[in-house]
Symmetry: C2
Subunit: 320 residues, 2 copies
C-alpha cells in the first residue's frame, strides 16, 4: 500500500515514519511506498520504501503530484504552529485551513476513499469552558490555530460521512518532551524545561509552578497514531474525532520528577522568568479531560511524568 505523510519531517512525522517502516504494514497490508513530504528534508535512514519530497503544500500542483490516484493512506500532520498562526493570520489560514480543504478535494478524487489520519489539538478549547472537558464539549478556540484545527475536524467528519475519505482525527494533548529545539508554539516551554536542563542548557519557565497541563509523550503519541491507523473506523460511529487520553501535571510536578531523576544541579538550570502574556494563554488551556471514547477504544495515556522523562532520555536525549 501507498502511504503519504504530510508534514512528515517534523519530530512526530519522523518518529511515525520510523515506526511504520519498522512495523511494515497498516491493517495487515504491507507498506510498499512511504512518501514523506515537508518544507525541508527529514533526517531519516535510507529505506527502499521511503521517498522524500520537499515543497510548499499550499501550491495546488504540489498536492496532485504527491497524492497519486492509488494512494491508500494519508497522514496529515502539516501545520503552522499556534504562535506563528496567531502572528501571521494569512499564513495560518493558507496552510492550516485552505491547504487541508484542497487536500480533501484531491482525496475525494482518488481511486478509492483513502484512510485519512489528521492531527488535531487541545487548542480547539479555550475561553469559557467547563473544568473537565468531555468528549462532547464544544470547541471554543481562542487562537486561530485552534479555530483552524476545529474547522478541519468538521470537514474531515463530513468528508468521512459522505464516504469521500475514511477519516480519523486525534486531538493530541500537549506533547512533552518534544525532541529538538524550541519552536514557535506557545507550549514550547513545557518541553524546554525538561529537555534543555538534561542537555546541559538553561531553559526559561515563563509560568508559575501551579500551572496545570494535559500532556502526552511522543512515544505514546506515536503508539496512538499507529493504533488509529490500524483500527476499524466503524467503531467511531457518527463522529470521527477522538480526544486522546493524557495526564494532568503541574509545572511543579514536572520539575519535581526531573529533580528525582537527574538531581538538583539539572533543575537549577531552569530560570523562572515570569511572562504575564504566556501565563494568560497557557492558563486558558484545558488541563483535564475525560477522554472516555478513546479510553474505551484502548488508547492509553502515559503512566507518569517520571516515565515520560525516562522515555525522553532513552529515545531523544542529545548527549552533550
Amino acid at each position: 500500500m501507498r502511504v503519504v505523510i504530510l508534514g512528515g519531517a517534523g519530530f512526530l512525522g519522523q518518529k511515525l515514519t520510523k515506526a511504520l517502516l519498522e512495523k511494515g504494514d497498516i491493517k495487515g497490508q504491507a507498506i510498499s511506498k512511504l512518501l514523506v513530504f515537508d518544507r525541508f528534508e527529514a533526517n531519516l535512514e535510507a529505506d527502499e520504501r521511503l521517498e522524500q519530497i520537499t515543497g510548499d503544500i499550499s501550491q495546488p500542483t504540489t498536492l496532485e503530484k504527491l497524492i497519486l490516484p492509488d494512494t491508500d493512506v494519508i497522514i496529515h500532520l502539516a501545520a503552522i504552529v499556534s504562535g506563528e498562526a496567531e502572528q501571521n493570520f494569512d499564513l495560518g489560514m493558507q496552510i492550516n485551513l485552505h491547504a487541508t480543504e484542497a487536500l480533501l478535494e484531491v482525496c475525494r478524487k482518488l481511486n478509492k476513499p483513502p484512510q485519512f489520519l489528521f492531527a488535531s489539538s487541545i487548542a480547539v478549547f479555550g475561553g469559557d469552558m467547563p473544568e473537565i472537558i468531555e468528549d462532547n464539549t464544544a470547541p471554543t478556540p481562542q487562537s486561530s490555530y485552534g479555530a483552524q484545527k476545529a474547522i478541519c475536524e468538521l470537514l474531515i467528519n463530513d468528508y468521512s460521512r459522505k464516504g469521500f475519505i475514511d477519516g480519523i482525527i486525534l486531538r493530541f494533548p500537549t506533547i512533552v518532551v518534544r525532541p529538538g529545539k524550541p519552536n514557535a508554539a506557545t507550549s514550547t516551554f513545557a518541553s524546554s524545561i525538561i529537555r534543555e536542563p538534561l542537555q546541559g542548557q538553561e531553559a526559561i519557565c515563563p509560568v508559575t509552578g501551579d500551572t496545570k497541563l494535559w500532556i502526552l509523550s511522543p512515544r505514546q503519541a506515536i503508539r496512538s497514531a499507529v493504533k488509529a491507523l490500524d483500527m476499524d473506523t466503524d467503531l467511531l460511529g457518527s463522529h470521527r474525532t477522538l480526544s486522546l487520553p493524557g495526564i494532568t501535571v503541574s509545572v511543579q510536578d514536572m520539575v519535581t520528577s526531573l529533580e528525582e531523576i537527574s538531581g538538583k544541579a539539572v533543575v537549577d538550570r531552569i530560570v523562572w522568568q515570569h511572562s504575564h502574556f504566556i501565563q494568560q494563554i497557557v492558563g486558558s488551556w484545558p488541563s483535564r479531560f475525560t477522554a472516555r471514547r478513546a479510553l474505551e477504544l484502548g488508547f492509553e495515556p502515559d503512566a507518569s511524568m517520571t516515565e515520560i522523562i525516562q522515555n525522553f532520555i532513552e529515545d531523544d536525549l542529545v548527549k552533550t
Copy 2:
C-alpha cells in the same frame, strides 16, 4: 449607516428588511442605505433607502461590488438549504462555506470592522448527542449543510476574536410556520402541515405524530435578529454563538393546535404518508435545548404553538 443583507430575498430576509426599514436604525444609528442582495429580486415596497441587487454570491467580483468600504452592517442569510446541500455537495461547499470565507476576507478590509450577523441552525447537531443540548454541547453535524454552518460559526468567532469583524451568530430553531412554498429543506413539512391546510391545500406529513421538533416562529426570529443587531456584543464574552430559545412540540401538538384554531376540515387536509427516509433524518435532530445564554440575554421563545399559528394567520396567510 450602510447595511447589506445577503440572501435578503428569502422569507426571513424580506421580513428583516421590512422590520429594519420600519425601525429605521441599528444601535441608534439611522439606516441611510439598505442593500438587499439575492439570486432573485424580493417583493418589497419601494423605499428611498432600499436598493436591490441580484447576482451570484460565489463570484469574487460580486462581493466587492456589494460590500463597499463604508459598509457598517452585514447580515448574512444566504445559503443552500439542507436537502440541496446534501444532494449537491459542491454547490453547498461553494455557497455555504467558500462564499462565506470570501465574504469574511472582504469584511476584513473595510474601513472599520463591520457588525456581522450570521444565521446558523440547529442542523449543526445530530447523531450521537445528549438528550438536552446545552450551550457548550459540541456540534456533531450529520449533514453537509450542518457541517458548513458549524464551520462558518468557528470562522466568525475567530474573525471576531481577531477584531476583523464584530460578529454574532444566531442558531435558529426550525422556523415554523414559514410563509410561501415548500422548499428543499428536509424540515419543509413542518411548515407545510400548517400552512397548506390553512390555505385550502393538502399537505403530506412524512413523520409520525410523536416526532418532536424545536421550533421558532418567523415573528420571533425577526425579533431575535433585530435584538442581536442592537445588542452590545461584549456581553457575549469569548464566544459569539447563541442558540436561540425555541419551544419543543410534537407533530401531534402542532396538529392539535391547528384543529383547535381551524377545525377538523382543515386538519383533514393533512395526508399522513410516512417516509422512512425523512423520519430518520428528522428523528436525528435535537428537540430540546437549554438555550441558557440567549435566555439570560433576553432572547425569547414563542409562547405556544397556538400563538405561532395565530401569528401566521395574521402575518402571512395567503387567502384562497
